[in-house]
Amino acid sequence: MLAPRLGCLLVVVLALWPQTAFAQSRPLDELLRFVPEDTGLCLLAQDLRTYTLEVMESPLADRLRKSSLLADLVSTPEWKLWLVSVKQVEKALELSWREMLDDVLGQAVVFAFRPGPPGKPELEQGLLLIRARKADTLARLVDRINEVQKASGELRELQTRQYRGQQYHCRVEDKQTNFYLLRGQVLLFTAQEAFLRAAIDREKQSPPDESVWSVRLRDLGLERAVAGLAINPRAYDEAMLLSGENGSTNRLLTTLWKDVQGFGLGLHLEQQSIRLTCRVLSRGKSSHPALSRFLAAADKPSTLWNALPENTLLAVGGRFDGQATLDLLRECLGKQAQDALFADLQRSVGAMLGKDLLKEVLPNLGPDWGLILVAPRATSKTWMPHMRFALRLTSPPGEDPPLEDTILQAIHGLAQMAVLAYNKKYPDRTLRLRMTRSNGCRIGSLTGEALLPGLEPAWAIKDGYLLLVTHPDEITAFTISRSQPSSEVPLLRVSFRNLLSYIKEHHQKLREALSANQRTEGSGSTSVLATLQEVLELFDKVELQHQSKPGAVTFTLRVDLTRRLRK
């Protein structure tokens, strides 16, 4: 008996579900129903009230309140002036800043922008849309602004107009006329009446579930962003087409532009991190062959990410297809410039290597590359971090001499020239060229009293990688391991945690280096390091990642914090 009743109940709930969902549509979606489809650009902010309250009560805010940096700033005359002037605005509007944020701006704000036609930027149009939490507060604010500006003579006349059964107002000022529509919790404001009418039209045509811009924002991953910028590429087609008539680079851009379906920038506040995303939507697989190959290579993480030392301060790395990069470069440069560039490169680098640069060298560079900065050990006598650059070389089978040997000899030759020229110029502090061998790997390096302590630039080929480092130990320590398939491809990582440890471990040496620089006195250098430590304590790391799936490429810059950002 119970099962049929439960079944009936489920059917009723499911039948009502879409209506319920629509009745509780998000404030942002409510505004986006007004935004005309051909709008070029949308700026948005949402849930400011919720985010502000959560951030205010977070451990991070608590830490910031105790920060000396902020305490110093809050005690400045500028800060006091800001407080006084805000009080004046609050008094004029009869609305506190807190009410403004909570009840008027705290739910959703959108600014829609239509660019003017090419050559006529003055015909651009803008529309500000606000979805307030409290309709009465919003109405009171609008009335108060009109009232105050009428009394001061800024507003000369307020007219009421009608369009498609919708009442809106025209504000006639000294130099300009602007228009607004107030409907419950929603306010639309513009200086262009045509845009307001287009918004009214759009709202009447928008489907009840999702508007065009809601779908666009969802595809761009901005539906939950606290702030964002979305661009509709079709609004710029004409301008890009005209731009494409100027040179080969722009022609390539115009070709690629046709494939772009959307572009979005978003700011996301998470529990313990801040994310800045940049997403480009395209028509599935790129129709441009060189770009497709370039993106396919860049779509996997570099093997170098699997073997980062624990004390890495900074790491940059990726993958590229040498031939695809070369082809893209060719298209960018145009015939004349590429002929000149490649002839120049062949005369110099190609001649030194004794190979055809375009056929035998550049296509065989990569795909993996990486650059890292590693903190010295705590016991090290020097404060100088070590740098390591690695580039994979792929020598075709049977090539004689192999590309690795050719490049190594060329670097050796350059180093010889450098030593000769330097020693001739500075006979009292000479450089020396040193060749050593470690685990079967030949390492070339430069030593001498001319170099900073701890610095010994070195080079080698190891495990198929060309290594350029600031100390031979980095070559000995270099290892690689197979990369794991991952949907997220790291491109950059800065570890603030390691940077903080590095500053603490080498504090004395860094302080001396700063003072010796003659820019900072002893106490000044201590202060600089103390300030830096105070700032670094708030952050864990910053990472730039690349993620791609059919039709969408996303770059994400994530800042991880040491404390929770939201309560």
Binding site: P115, Y236, N246, Q409, G413
Partner: protein, 233 residues
């Protein structure tokens, strides 16, 4: 290689003082230098392909261009540093303006007007009807001053003086003009820089649009036009 004789012969040959035969003779007879023979010969072949540095008629113009470019690079570097600081300052000021205003306990303390040159007139007594634009403009100017204040704090806190290449002693490499690769790199990089500038120009319709959208947003608001027109002293 660690043979000083070879180094001297090589340098002498590069300077045009010693014929190639002397160096060849040494390479044939010195066991130390024998292993480096292919590299040295390749190096010499590469150097031989370089055009001799004879001064051309356009030399003065090129020097002038190089100096101008160097000045431009320095200016761009300064502008980049200023932009970074300004961005950091604006971000910091925005956070402070929003979060700071909601600071717990703020309302319990009376706000005293600041002393000094920043305030040109006493906020009280207030007129019966406060001119809204003037009030908003004043608040905006206060925000600008606060941003400038934040920016003035940042450079001393976040610059790493020893990373400034101008201050590094000449110890990493000889001066650039000692090496023939320097002019080579310069001429090689120029087309790439031109291509980069071209991409920037190609995207201008979109990037300009974003900038214009921000300007329009500020211009159209009924209470903020005076902000755009009014500049702090």
């Amino acid at each position: 290689m660690n043979c000083t004789v070879c180094e001297e012969l090589l340098q002498g040959h590069l300077d045009g003082d010693i014929p190639l035969e002397h160096l060849e003779h040494h390479l044939q007879n010195c066991s130390l230098c024998e292993s480096a023979r292919p590299a040295i010969l390749r190096l010499l072949a590469g150097v031989a392909l370089l055009q001799p540095p004879s001064p051309s008629a356009t030399l003065p113009q090129r020097i002038k261009l190089a100096v101008t470019r160097e000045a431009l690079v320095r200016k761009q570097r300064r502008r980049w540093q200023v932009s970074l600081r300004a961005t950091l300052a604006i971000a910091a000021a925005l956070v402070i303006l929003v979060v700071g205003w909601l600071w717990p306990g703020k309302d319990s303390q009376p706000v005293e007007p600041p002393s000094g040159d920043l305030v040109q007139q006493e906020p009280s007594p207030q007129p019966a009807i406060v001119p809204l634009r003037a009030s908003v403009a004043e608040a905006g100017n206060a925000a600008v001053s606060l941003t400038a204040r934040t920016a003035s704090v940042l450079p001393s806190s976040f610059s790493w003086p020893w990373l400034d290449s101008a201050d590094l002693p000449e110890l990493l490499m000889p001066e650039q003009d000692s090496l023939p690769v320097s002019p080579m790199l310069e001429s090689t990089l120029q087309p790439l820089q031109d291509a980069g500038a071209s991409v920037q120009a190609g995207l201008a319709p979109v990037t300009d649009s974003a900038r214009r959208a921000f300007s329009l947003l500020l211009r159209d608001l009924p209470v903020s036009r005076s902000l755009a027109a009014h500049k702090p002293g």
